[in-house]
C-alpha cells in the first residue's frame, strides 16, 4: 500500500510540476492567446452526467485538462418547503421523508426531533435506540450504494456488483424492520412507529457478521489494488483549508482531516450513550473519501451491535400534541453524506410557518468547481460521484409526473412507445424480432 501511495503521489507531484512549468512558460501575451484559442467548452448534462439524476456541467477544457467548470443544479426543485406550509405536522412528516429516497430516515429524524423540541417532548429511550439502528442501517446501504456507483464510474464493474449484492442484505433487514426498502416510515413525532423484536435483532447481528467480512475485504482491496489507486489517488483534491473555506461536510470534509460529525459534536437520539469513533483521513482526494466511507461502515456495524445489545425495554412512543407552541428550532443530524440541518418555525397552529431543509449535498456542491479544476476530463465523473451528490436532497424534490396524465407502462407498452417514437422520426424498427421475455410480472 505504502509503495503504491508513494508511487501515485510522485506521479501527481510530477504532473503538478509539469503544469506549473507549463503555465510559467506561457507568460507572453501571444502564448496566452494561443492558450485561450485552444480551449474547448463542453456542455455536459443535464441528462445523467454522472449519476442517474439531472445536473449540468459546463466544462472548459485545455487539451484534456479541465480549466473551469460551471455547475448548474436545480432541475428537480419541486417547492417542497412551500408545500410544508399548507400541511399539518403529521402530513409533513411523510413529505419530509420523501426529500430523499436514499437518506429518508435522517430527514424524518431531524424533522421529528425539531418538533419534539418545540413541543417539549422527550422520546422514550427505546425509541431513540431504534432511531439509531435504522440510521446506521441507512448509512450502510447508502455507502454501499455509493461504493458501487464509484466503482462503476471508474469501470470496475465487478466491485459495483459485489457492493450492490451486499447492499441487498441491508435492504432486506430494513424491509424486515420497517416494511419497506426505502422511505422507512419508522419515525413519528414522539418516537417510532414499530418495535424491533428479538428475532429481528438476531437477523441484524447475522447481517452485521456477514457484512463485516465483506467490508474488510473491500478495505483491503482499496488499500492494495493498483488500478484503484491509479484512478483515485490525487483526483478531486480538496485540502483541509479549502474544505473549511467551501464549508463541505460529511465524508468529503472528514477525508480532508476535518473531524465534522454531528453524532459526536452534538449527539442526538441515543448517540450520547453509544461510543462513536470519528473516522478521518488525510488524503483529501477521492481515494480518501473512499477509505473514509468504508471505515465508517465498519464503525456503523459496531454502533449497531452496541445498540442491539444495550437497547432498553419500554415504550416506543409518547403522545404528541397536534398543535405545536410558537417558536423556532434548528435541528441537526448526521446524514450518510454529512451534516443535515432543518430549521422549523411554528406559529402555535397545527401547521408550520416555515420549514427549511439544508441537506448535506447542498453544502458539498460548493467545492465542486474547485475539485474539477486541473483534472483530466476522464476523471470528471468519478470526481462528481465522490461527493456522493444527491440531487433530490439539494433541490428538495418530490418526484412527480408533471405531464397532464400519468400512466404506468409495462414492458410491451414501453417497447411500443419506443417503436412509435422512432417511426415518427422516419426509422421503422417494428420488424425487429426480439425474444419474448417476462420482466417484473
Amino acid at each position: 500500500m505504502d509503495e503504491n501511495k508513494e508511487r501515485m503521489e510522485s506521479r501527481v507531484n510530477a504532473e503538478n510540476k509539469e503544469s506549473r512549468e507549463g503555465t510559467e512558460g506561457m507568460d507572453s501575451k501571444e502564448n496566452r492567446k494561443n492558450q485561450e484559442r485552444n480551449r474547448v467548452v463542453i456542455p455536459i448534462g443535464p441528462q445523467h452526467p454522472s449519476l442517474k439524476e439531472p445536473s449540468s456541467f459546463t466544462i472548459t477544457l485545455e487539451g484534456e485538462k479541465v480549466v473551469d467548470a460551471v455547475v448548474g443544479i436545480g432541475y428537480v426543485h419541486r417547492g417542497l418547503e412551500k408545500a410544508c406550509e399548507s400541511r399539518t405536522y403529521i402530513q409533513n412528516l411523510y413529505l419530509i421523508e420523501r426529500v430523499c429516497g436514499i437518506c429518508s430516515h435522517t430527514h424524518s429524524t431531524a424533522f421529528c426531533q425539531g418538533i419534539e423540541e418545540l413541543a417539549g417532548i422527550t422520546i422514550p429511550r427505546r425509541a431513540a435506540y431504534i432511531r439509531v439502528i435504522v440510521a446506521e442501517l441507512e448509512r450502510l446501504h447508502s455507502h454501499l450504494l455509493w461504493l458501487g456507483v464509484a466503482a462503476h464510474e471508474i469501470g470496475f464493474d465487478t466491485l459495483f456488483m459485489y457492493s450492490w449484492r451486499d447492499r441487498e442484505k441491508v435492504l432486506d433487514i430494513l424491509a424486515e424492520i420497517c416494511g419497506n426498502r426505502v422511505n422507512y416510515g419508522i419515525n413519528t413525532i414522539g418516537g417510532v412507529r414499530r418495535d424491533i423484536d428479538s428475532e429481528m435483532m438476531q437477523n441484524i447481528l447475522k447481517m452485521a457478521d456477514y457484512l463485516q467480512e465483506q467490508l474488510k475485504y473491500y478495505l483491503d482491496l482499496v488499500m492494495t489494488d493498483q488500478t484503484l489507486s491509479a484512478r483515485l489517488v490525487g483526483i478531486g483534491k480538496l485540502s483541509y483549508e479549502e474544505a473549511l473555506k467551501f464549508g463541505v461536510v460529511g465524508p468529503v470534509a472528514r477525508a480532508a482531516g476535518i473531524m465534522d460529525d454531528i453524532r459526536i459534536i452534538e449527539p442526538y437520539a441515543a448517540y450520547g450513550e453509544i461510543p462513536v469513533k470519528p473516522v478521518t483521513d488525510t488524503h483529501a482526494d477521492v481515494f480518501g473519501r473512499t477509505v473514509v466511507r468504508i471505515k465508517e461502515m465498519l464503525e456503523s456495524l459496531e454502533i449497531i451491535r452496541f445498540s442491539v445489545k444495550n437497547i432498553p425495554d419500554g415504550d416506543i412512543a409518547v403522545k404528541a400534541p397536534k398543535r405545536v407552541p410558537a417558536g423556532e428550532v434548528i435541528s441537526r443530524t448526521e446524514a450518510p453524506r454529512g451534516e443535515n440541518i432543518h430549521y422549523i418555525r411554528s406559529n402555535g397552529t397545527d401547521m408550520p410557518d416555515r420549514v427549511r431543509v439544508r441537506a448535506p449535498s447542498q453544502a458539498n456542491w460548493q467545492g465542486m468547481r474547485h475539485m474539477l479544476q486541473g483534472q483530466y476530463l476522464a476523471d470528471v465523473p468519478i470526481t462528481i460521484a465522490a461527493i456522493d451528490p444527491c440531487y433530490s436532497c439539494t433541490d428538495r424534490a418530490i418526484i412527480v409526473n408533471s405531464e397532464s396524465s400519468t400512466e404506468v407502462m409495462d414492458w410491451q407498452g414501453l417497447r411500443q412507445y419506443s417503436i412509435d417514437w422512432y417511426k415518427k422520426r422516419g426509422i421503422d424498427v417494428s420488424q425487429v424480432k426480439i425474444p419474448e421475455r417476462k420482466l417484473y410480472v
Binding site: G74, K82, K245, G247, Q366
Partner: protein, 170 residues
C-alpha cells in the same frame, strides 16, 4: 452553557445595540433579534474575524409580513450555532452578499434572490438557482402572499383572482 453566555457577553460589550436582542435558546444555540443591514454587517464581520465563527451553514429566508428576514447560521469550532438575523423591507429588499467572507453561502443567497425576491448585492456571477429559466419575473414563491394554486405550470404564468391582483407580485 457557559461558552454560549461568554459569546453573548463579549458581543454585547462590543455592540451595545445587541443588549436584550440576543439570547441562548438552548445548549449550542444562540439566536439574535432582527438587525438592520448596518448592524448586521458589523456583527457578522466581527464574528468571522475575531470570534472564530469560521463556517456559515446556511441562510434561511423568512417572510415577516412587510419585511423579509434572513437568518444566517454560523458555527464555531465548538459546534455552537449562532443564528444571526437580518431584516429588509419588501419594498427595498437590498442586502449585501456575505460570500466574500463565507464562500459556502453562494447557492443559499441565490435562493434568496429566486424564492424571496431579495436583491443580494455582490453575489458572484453564475447561473440562477433553483428556479427554471422560463420562470416569470416578479414571482417569488416563498413569500406568503404567493399561492401555488394560482400558478399555471403549463403556461408558466401567475393568475391570481382579480381582486387579489397585486398580491404575490413585486
Amino acid at each position: 452553557m457557559q461558552a454560549e453566555q461568554e459569546i453573548i457577553d463579549r458581543l454585547c460589550e462590543k455592540f451595545p445595540f445587541l443588549n436584550s436582542r440576543i439570547h441562548v435558546q438552548r445548549q449550542k444555540r444562540i439566536f439574535t433579534g432582527h438587525l438592520i443591514k448596518e448592524e448586521f454587517e458589523q456583527v457578522i464581520r466581527y464574528l468571522h474575524d475575531e470570534m472564530g465563527f469560521y463556517k456559515a451553514n446556511h441562510v434561511v429566508g423568512t417572510d415577516e409580513g412587510e419585511n423579509l428576514g434572513f437568518i444566517y447560521l454560523l458555527t464555531n469550532k465548538e459546534g455552537i450555532i449562532l443564528a444571526l438575523k437580518e431584516i429588509a423591507p419588501k419594498s427595498d429588499p437590498k442586502i449585501n452578499s456575505m460570500t466574500g467572507m463565507y464562500p459556502s453561502l453562494e447557492r443559499h443567497e441565490r435562493e434568496l434572490v429566486d424564492l424571496f425576491g431579495a436583491e443580494v448585492q455582490g453575489l458572484p456571477e453564475g447561473p440562477s438557482y433553483p428556479l427554471p429559466d422560463g420562470w416569470p419575473k416578479g414571482n417569488y414563491p416563498l413569500r406568503k402572499e404567493w399561492k401555488p394554486e394560482y400558478f399555471d405550470k403549463n403556461t408558466m404564468t401567475y393568475n391570481p383572482p382579480v381582486n387579489d391582483n397585486d398580491k404575490g407580485k413585486h
